[in-house]
């Protein structure tokens, strides 16, 4: 009898599974839920709290997409993925969007058959060391032991960096950020390397952040952004333009607070188009008129999301830097909504 339950469940599950990988939008709408691949736990970017509610910078992207497509930012199923499982989860259709601080690289975009739709955080790889080590530059790390997360681009960058500078090092491979912190705090490695944002997040959570410094060298470009499966351009467009809507909203001063008011009163044609008061941009990507309005309402514009999760007022304390609007000297630049 137990066996027949087993067969029955498999059969039932196979039945209910959506068919047709090509049309992700229809699939998500039919399911009524967005499957979003996130980090298993990186403070500020994606982490569950004690009751399993996910918050963070990457999580906000998931919420915005869910709000745009399904009309409800809460209709997201968060799938925690490790560095090892994330791309397979996307390729196999287990998740619809991968918002898990993943670096946009050539081979991932082409060979791994992913489509990166934009960059939500311009990052670079750095090193954190303890102050009493007396090191001020990454070039002085010859012979050091370095903690490194396996399965990331940082692992390759690290090897390249030390080779290019003709230095040696001993890697300590770790599986998760939590483990890296433990090793680093115990002195099992001299330096901890990962994306500078991650370092800042980690350092902020220490009991004595002032005793640790992040070395000035940024040894790589790490443009982090959400990715979708290769081959469904329409779905890619939706995620891409949801991200741009958030960025553009900040540029035009649309916040979650003044959203409704601006939708009624704004005279700026671009704002009107974005919020769906005049043109129907949504129809072009298979959504309704107010998709962007809902996406912005979900957790605010790009600036608000940044400030709430990883900005200077939070324990993570990241400055906008490269991630400021292009009008402020940063790189965040939304393509025109027209």
């Amino acid at each position: 009898m137990n066996k027949s339950l087993f067969l029955g469940t498999v059969a039932a599950v196979t039945l209910t599974a959506g068919m047709g990988m090509a049309d992700t939008l229809a699939e998500v709408k039919a399911r009524g839920e967005l499957n979003c691949g996130v980090n298993t736990g990186l403070a500020g970017f994606a982490a569950p709290d004690a009751s399993g509610n996910w918050t963070g910078f990457d999580v906000a992207i998931c919420k915005a997409v869910a709000a745009a497509v399904l009309g409800d930012p809460a209709k997201v199923k968060y799938v925690p993925t490790t560095g090892q499982t994330r791309f397979t989860a996307l390729a196999s259709g287990e998740v619809d969007v991968l918002a898990r601080n993943s670096t946009w690289t050539f081979s991932r975009d082409t060979d791994l058959k992913l489509d990166f739709v934009g960059v939500n955080y311009f990052d670079g790889q750095g090193f954190m060391v303890s102050k009493d080590l007396g090191v001020t530059s990454a070039k002085e790390l010859d012979g050091a032991t370095v903690c490194i997360q396996t399965g990331t681009t940082t692992e390759l960058n690290l090897a390249d960096f030390f080779q290019a500078n003709n230095m040696s090092y001993q890697p300590v491979n770790i599986d998760s950020n939590a483990e890296g912190e433990q090793q680093y705090m115990a002195g099992a490695c001299d330096a901890y390397t990962t994306d500078a944002s991650g370092l800042a997040a980690t350092r902020a959570a220490f009991a004595d952040p002032e005793n640790h410094i992040i070395l000035p060298e940024i040894i790589s470009k790490e443009p982090l952004g959400p990715a979708v499966r290769h081959g469904d351009s329409n779905w890619g467009d939706i995620v891409r333009w949801t991200l741009y809507a958030l960025i553009a909203a900040e540029e035009y001063g649309i916040t979650s607070k003044n959203l409704e008011e601006l939708a009624k009163s704004s005279q700026n044609p671009e704002v009107q188009r974005l919020l769906g008061t005049t043109d129907d941009l949504g129809a072009m990507i298979g959504l309704d008129k107010e998709w962007a309005r809902r996406a912005i309402a979900a957790s605010g514009n790009y600036g608000e999301i940044f400030a709430a999760n990883i900005g200077e007022q939070t324990p993570i304390g990241l400055a906008r830097g490269l991630n400021a609007q292009w009008t402020q000297g940063g790189l965040q630049y939304a393509m025109p909504f027209r």
Partner: protein, 418 residues
């Protein structure tokens, strides 16, 4: 002369495929075969469809691309510029290293504990029981994590050895440094280095190593000759000449001569820069994994050994004593051969488990086969299917080799029953 002729074979009817026992199993097998083939075809077809939908193919070319990542501990030379294939081989060697070390240590520990549990020392036997029950009833992953955490949290960082009044000091005559990164042990050095034999693929063996192996093997051979000679004297005259000093001499003297010839000496590790250099740094991930596997598997082996010894009935040793055998010979000739027959098969399956459990290296970042081929390589190249297939096949071959060994042993010690 009327004899009954055999009843004629009934003509074949289709329903006999079901009702006739002779045909039924055939029918059943054909159905099973068709079903299995159908499922296999379905799986392969799905895989092909899925791969082509993703624009991927199935080839192992990626194995010969540059790996680009570093591995902390390798048995043969490796740099980030080597291929993924070499990285996989490094991983396999690391798996074998920790498995073999673990099997040896677990056997020693398990036999000791198994015997100790039968000891009539009340306190000691109870203590061993507690050890066995605690380790058998908690997940291995827990032990790996705890032991690794103890290494990381309790041992001093290399920094603690620095300065005029260091917080930590090296042990064993200043030759071994325990740190929370690695255990630094002295390395062997030679003043007259004879050079190395190149085996290709940048794998080398020092001539000194080869000569030591030859010396020891030769010593073993000569020792056997001495034994035969002593035996023949004993057979002829009835008294056996004392030979132990001869055996000892042929076993040790050549090695001692070689040590002086090559000028072999130990170089203790030294703290230079961030880390100890000059010695061999055995990563804690290896030591912790090895210890955890040893303690965990040792508990199981202890139970096997205990059961094996208990399985030999008391009458056997009593009979041996009645024949006038001394206790040592009783143990060697009567008890052990019978106990081993019970002990060895489950022991080997414990070895198998240990080898498979070594894949939990993932928890401490030890780069075994799963860490290189099934971890970083898989992830950097995105070749899940190929990497997983290759990795599982490797594990399977290792297991099959071990179980083939077990089968040979079993058939050799099998009771010849009639």
């Amino acid at each position: 002369m009327a004899y009954v002729s055999a009843p004629a074979e009934p003509p074949f009817r289709l329903s006999m495929l079901i009702y006739d026992r002779r045909y039924r199993s055939l029918t059943f097998q054909v159905i099973v075969f068709i079903l299995v083939m159908a499922v296999a075809w379905w799986l392969v077809d799905n895989t092909i469809t899925n791969l082509s939908a993703m624009g991927k193919d199935f080839n192992f070319g990626f194995l010969f691309q540059r790996a680009g990542y570093d591995i902390p501990q390798t048995l043969i030379p490796y740099t980030a510029n080597d291929t993924h294939f070499r990285a996989a081989v490094i991983g396999l060697l690391n798996t074998l290293l920790v498995s073999i070390l673990g099997c040896i240590a677990a056997t020693v520990l398990g036999v000791a504990v198994g015997v100790a549990r039968l000891s009539n020392n009340w306190l000691f036997a109870r203590l061993m029981t507690v050890y066995v029950e605690i380790f058998r009833n908690m997940p291995l992953l827990l032990w790996i994590l705890i032991i690794y955490a103890i290494f990381t949290e309790v041992l001093p960082p290399p920094n603690a050895y620095r300065g005029d009044d260091p917080a930590a000091s090296m042990i064993l005559f200043d030759s071994v440094a325990l740190t929370n990164r690695y255990t630094s042990i002295p390395t062997l050095a030679m003043t007259n280095d004879p050079g190395s034999l190149d085996l290709g693929a940048r794998v080398t063996i020092n001539w000194a190593t080869i000569s030591f192996i030859v010396a020891i093997l030769g010593g073993l051979y000569v020792r056997r000759l001495i034994g035969n000679w002593a035996q023949s004297i004993q057979n002829a005259t009835g008294s056996r000449p004392t030979t132990w000093w001869m055996s000892l001499a042929v076993m040790t003297i050549p090695s001692i001569i070689l040590i002086f010839f090559f000028g072999l000496h130990l170089v203790p590790p030294e703290l230079k820069g961030f880390n100890f250099t000059g010695g061999i740094n055995v990563q804690n991930s290896l030591v912790a994994l090895w210890l955890a596997l040893t303690l965990y598997t040792g508990a199981f082996i202890a139970e096997i050994v205990r059961a094996g010894i208990l399985a030999v009935s008391k009458g056997q040793s009593e009979a041996a004593f009645a024949l006038g055998m001394r206790p040592k010979r009783t143990m060697n000739l009567v008890i052990l051969p019978q106990a081993l027959r019970v002990i060895v098969p489950p022991l080997i399956s414990q070895y198998l488990n240990l080898m498979k459990n070594s894949s939990l290296a993932i928890a401490v970042g030890y780069m075994d086969l799963r860490g290189t081929l099934g971890g970083t390589t898989l992830n950097q190249t995105g070749r899940e299917l190929e990497s997983m297939v290759l990795m599982m096949a490797t594990y399977l071959v290792l297991s099959l080799i071990i179980s083939a060994g077990m089968n040979i042993f079993n058939s050799r010690v099998k009771l010849k029953e009639r």
